[in-house]
Amino acid sequence: MTDLLRPRAMGRSPRRVEGPAKVTGTAPYASDQPVHDPVHAWLVQAEVARGVVTSVDTGRALAEEGVLTVLTPDNAPRLASTEDAELAALQSHDVDFRGQVLAVVVARTPETARHAASLVRVVVEQRPHDVRLSGDRADLYAPEQVNGGFETDTAEGDLAAGLAQAAHVVDRTYTTAWYNNNPLEPHATTAVWSDENLLLYDSTQGVHTTREAVAETFGLSPERVHVISPHVGGGFGAKGTAHVHAILAAMAARALPDVPVKLALTRQQMYSLVGYRTPTIQRVRLGGSADGRLTALAVDAIGQTSRFKEFAEQTAVPARTMYAAPHRRTTHRLAALDVPVPAWMRAPGECPGMFGPEVAMDELAIACGLDPVEFRVRNEPEVEPESGKPFSSRNLVACLREGARRFGWSHRDPTPGARQESGWRVGTGVAASTYPVNRSPGSEANIRFTAPGRYRVEIGAADIGTGTWTSLAQIAADALGVDHGDVELRIGDTRLPKASVAGGSSGITSWGSTVVAAARAFREKFGDRPDDGDETCVAMPESSASDDYAMHAFGAQFAEVRVHVDTGEVRVPRLLGVFAVGRVVNPRLARSQLVGGMTMGLSMALHEHSLLDERFGHVVNHDLAEYHIATNSDVPDVEAHWIEEHDPHTNPMGTKGIGEIGIVGTAAAIVNAAHHATGIRVRDLPLTLDHFVR
């Protein structure tokens, strides 16, 4: 058990400290950082999904006035490491996916660079490509492990026997679509290379993560790479690992010593270069006894990876935590395709992986004649089903009960298609949410006292719109026992002590634990009356809590859905979530995270769908006009609440991550509500009107 901090600043809702700078346009994003006389890079991308570059003619591009250099597979310098195949920019003549970068043009203006890029002639000998994901492919394979380091397959008991003894069985296949991360700020890097030192202004979820990747790729010692990223206009996982544009910007900068090189991706380029969420195919089998207890539970998940680099979404992993069932199994299989490499997108694993199972739970509840809230409560496990560990805290039932109360669930007539109001069929649905408490190793924090009363807290953490600038300072204030205003936080720079990535909702747990440890060490060393200049730097302490406890956040989401009788249009007039996420550091910012996650879940349920054209091998609706994300009109009423939860095991603040759980379960709640409204069960996202128009 950790020694929990007494909350004074925590639990309050100071506004974002960087808010005024952002709304007045003075917060420097990666491409806005003032640099002297920059030049601009533009990418040339492959227009086939597989092949070999046989020639690159840069003559016309180089002849344009203002063009400084064109890097191609023929002339690009060799990188020190190509271990991460995604970052092996221009190192080979092979084309592994459509959209792969085949050349980069650097010119004095972005307009010139863009025009010159169109003049580069790349001849590619095309090879047959294969980009079709399906459940019946003969070459599906089991990866060694899945994202997060989880086991690929698990099994317990005898699934066949568990299904055979069930009074009711659901055996269905559910699919989620290909989704692309669309942070408002496109990825951008400004690179300056001077005297074997590389400076990068990057839009990243982790300055040190980017530094490690870039340093390794170029064979530099990490101290020679300086990454600065004070503000990030959203990431959703797409900025959690370094992508190829950062390498290309650095490579161009190396070719033009002392000259700042700016490289900003277009929205279209993001659809092939910065990761995306794999489509999934989930066969879910649930067996239920006559009294509504699960006898068997199986999730067999199929996803895709690129052929040149593996990414294995952990789609079936949340099923290992959610419900009690004596006989169970989970599996993951992958199709290796000629596609860009998938990566993290808000709640990888949990987000797609709670869709199939939570819809199946609704289907089985109906088969058992039970209310879906009650059915979930009945299958609540006493310990984490697959690990056997006790939960550090688990309040799913409280979330379901509180959500039902707030939503007005008790008045619900369970009959599907029973309610109609002015031309709209109306229904309500529920689904559960979960997300693990992740703790990333490797952070350090420095605290320095400046008389008469300022504490400078330094850690290379990231604020990707989550509110770190504000909430981490609140934690520091409580750890030091001073006012929030007396803390001067510094983040987003590799000159600061090392910090782990803002990913897996692990930021506050990891950085917060580190800052608390630093504050305690500071007080131990210097007491309550430090001298000017006193400082101490400590690393995040070890924690064995995860050896002894299963640590997860939980939640319940309730949706009201309307489906138009004539047109089949689907609207979600009301979405309500109740979460159990440990202590909430800053309610204002927490609500923003949870509402944002739910909104993104609604968007996934109703709209989002990257359309892969199998003939060409790329996503063809690659912009914000055609890749639909929910608009304000689509989200009239999204409410997020939380219950008081005291968890002494997660970390000294008693927090759990909140950045991702909001998107988990939303799509299932909406699909379940649409079934309640219409009697039509949709198992393939998105929930467009063609499922309903008759």
Partner: protein, 328 residues
């Protein structure tokens, strides 16, 4: 960015002469043209800016009706008191298109001349007969959820994206054009073409023809109208199907009816067959259904848009039902 020349027109004749001489494209709001230039879909060598021409007025015509200048902004037209009073369906159509920011810039003429948002038309890395005649149609066997069910050809299945034009088609608007040979008029329903074997030609205009205004004739007293748009999200999406309906019912008999559909064809689709079924018939659910089905009898859905046929039918029927039995 491909280099281009930019010139500002001093008057209509000058703009037209410049276009005739250089093949220039007219630049009004630029909300579609500039996008296409960025995408590499359009590459005019010369832009003639017509924003300062005196074409931004809305005036009432002596015999009734309204003349809308070509550079009147969509937001201004939607908010115009006479439009809101006499042509509420036009206001509705305008406000259901694009976003507030785009409507503030987009113009009447430019709205009519905006080009399809077919995914393949906008992606220069794929074949498209409209963009590159003879290269093939990628949509016919590709992603064609948004595409045409009426009047398409084996060369092109794109749809016209405008909402405003659909309302104007139902209003029997007339387009005023100034070309190298002087001024002329074109009925709005004849402005846009079906793709046939020349899908690169969206309209009957030649490159140097400049739209100067659109005339809206007055609606007879007692006429009701509506514009209804069905789309994949509640805002900022092109129509899957939209309907503009102008209806005059007297004594429970349809005296006059004009129906135009959006999202179903290469042009705003005037549903003349349905109108023929309805005219002179008593209002009833059966007649409405018969009319809608008559219009859609020749619908040829594609792999991804079969739902548009029942959707269009339901939208036509419900629009008729709602207007015919609306409380006065």
């Amino acid at each position: 960015m491909i280099p281009f020349d930019y010139r500002r027109a001093a008057d209509v004749e000058g703009a037209v002469a410049e276009a005739a001489r250089t093949g220039a494209a007219f630049l009004a709001g630029g909300t579609n043209l500039v996008d296409r230039m960025k995408l590499g879909v359009s590459a005019p060598e010369v832009l003639v800016d017509i924003n300062r021409l005196p074409l931004d007025g809305v005036e009432e015509l002596p015999g009734g009706g309204l003349r809308v200048g070509a550079t009147v902004r969509n937001s201004d037209l939607a908010a115009h008191p006479v439009v809101r009073r006499d042509y509420p369906l036009l206001s509705r159509a305008l406000l259901s298109g694009a976003s507030g920011q785009l409507r503030t810039l987009a113009t009447t003429g430019g709205n009519l001349l905006q080009r399809t948002r077919c995914l393949y038309f906008q992606d220069t890395s794929t074949p498209c007969n409209k963009r590159e005649p003879g290269s093939g149609c990628s949509a016919i066997d590709g992603h064609n959820r948004q595409h045409a069910i009426l009047g398409a050809s084996e060369h092109c299945v794109a749809v016209h994206p405008s909402d405003m034009a659909v309302a104007m088609a139902a209003l029997d608007a007339t387009v005023l054009v100034h070309g190298p040979g002087g001024p002329r008029t074109v009925p709005l329903t004849d402005l846009h073409r079906l793709p046939g074997d020349e899908p690169h030609r969206d309209t009957v205009l030649s490159a140097a023809d400049l739209i100067t205004a659109v005339d809206l004739p007055p609606l007879p007293r007692g006429t009701r109208s509506l514009y209804r748009k069905v789309r994949d999200r509640a805002s900022y999406a092109f129509a899957l199907v939209s309907v503009a309906l102008v209806l005059h019912v007297d004594d429970d008999v349809v005296r006059d009816v004009r129906i135009a559909l959006g999202g179903v064809a290469h042009k705003p689709w005037r549903a003349r067959r349905a109108e023929g079924v309805l005219r002179g018939r008593p209002v009833s659910a059966d007649v409405f259904l018969e009319a809608a089905e008559a219009e859609l009898a020749d619908a040829r859905p594609l792999s991804g848009n079969a739902f548009k046929v029942p959707l269009a039918r339901n939208v036509i029927v419900s629009a008729l039902r709602d207007l015919a039995w609306e409380e006065r």
